[in-house]
Symmetry: C2
Amino acid sequence: MMLAETLEACQAEAFRRLARGVADRLCPFHTPTLATIGDDGAPELRTLVLRGFDPAARTLRLHTDARSGKVAELSRDPRCALHLYDPAAKLQLRIAGRASVHGEDAVADAAWAASRPFSRMCYAILPAPGTQVDAPPPAPRDAESGRGVFRVILLRFDRLEWLELAAGGHRRARFAWGEDGLSESCWLVP
Amino acid sequence: MMLAETLEACQAEAFRRLARGVADRLCPFHTPTLATIGDDGAPELRTLVLRGFDPAARTLRLHTDARSGKVAELSRDPRCALHLYDPAAKLQLRIAGRASVHGEDAVADAAWAASRPFSRMCYAILPAPGTQVDAPPPAPRDAESGRGVFRVILLRFDRLEWLELAAGGHRRARFAWGEDGLSESCWLVP
């Protein structure tokens, strides 16, 4: 029994699982991996929390700190990729698109307003993330002073690959979108 | 209670968990994410199975198909990154280094000889992985004919970042190696 039998069902199931990844903190899709191009041109990747998904706009929302390496990297090259893997479902999604970074606009204001105090605290850390220190710093206690460095990453994707592993034959499908919506939908050899 | 209290303990625990990732198929470190630079310069990433780890050489072993995009990508730019995340342990490892691809040498012969028939079958698939097809192809039944396209990726890493999440304060550490061994070992602001 595969998760989806048709291309349409694969796309619908991928979108359904992205939405569940936002809502369900225990779901593996809650913590995807974001890849960017580092300042030396080599790839960089790290876990982020999937905070939002707008299926109509095909945007995924992630939160970060203005002082993080990924903000600098996305400013230089907004092309990025997101990877999600559910070992129990044996399902991988590979997503590619471009990111915009929001700090002082309504997107960031809304995300900050909806965030919990515990989540806000990490943005209050000093000195900046990635700074070398003599000992691990304690967790910040201040939930509000981090607003200035809080950033929202909106990843608008135009490519999605579905890969479901199964003993009877893996299933791999590619979806791409252009200005007029879905432009490609096909099976690939896995 | 943190997984490791000192820099030395972080490095030892990271290496121990890489070894466990090879041996334990149920461990999240068994299926890391590999990032490469795609042919358009944007990042590409996908799940692979961690097949081997040589701590003395700092090499991680992964298997792939000569016809896959990642082999072409690593031929153009061997710089790559590997990401491992254990949600239960709240531990992330970020690994960076350079990959070599092996097909017709002792490294590949040994890896093929040690692989199971079930693992060998996927290399027998036709046409090449990534080819557009009208319907998902069935799983190949032939365990031997794939040897010609079987490839080993050896990722030799020179940088490793440890990140352990904890309510009392996250712990982040960076390790780097040069020609004479460990060249950097420090705490970072998380």
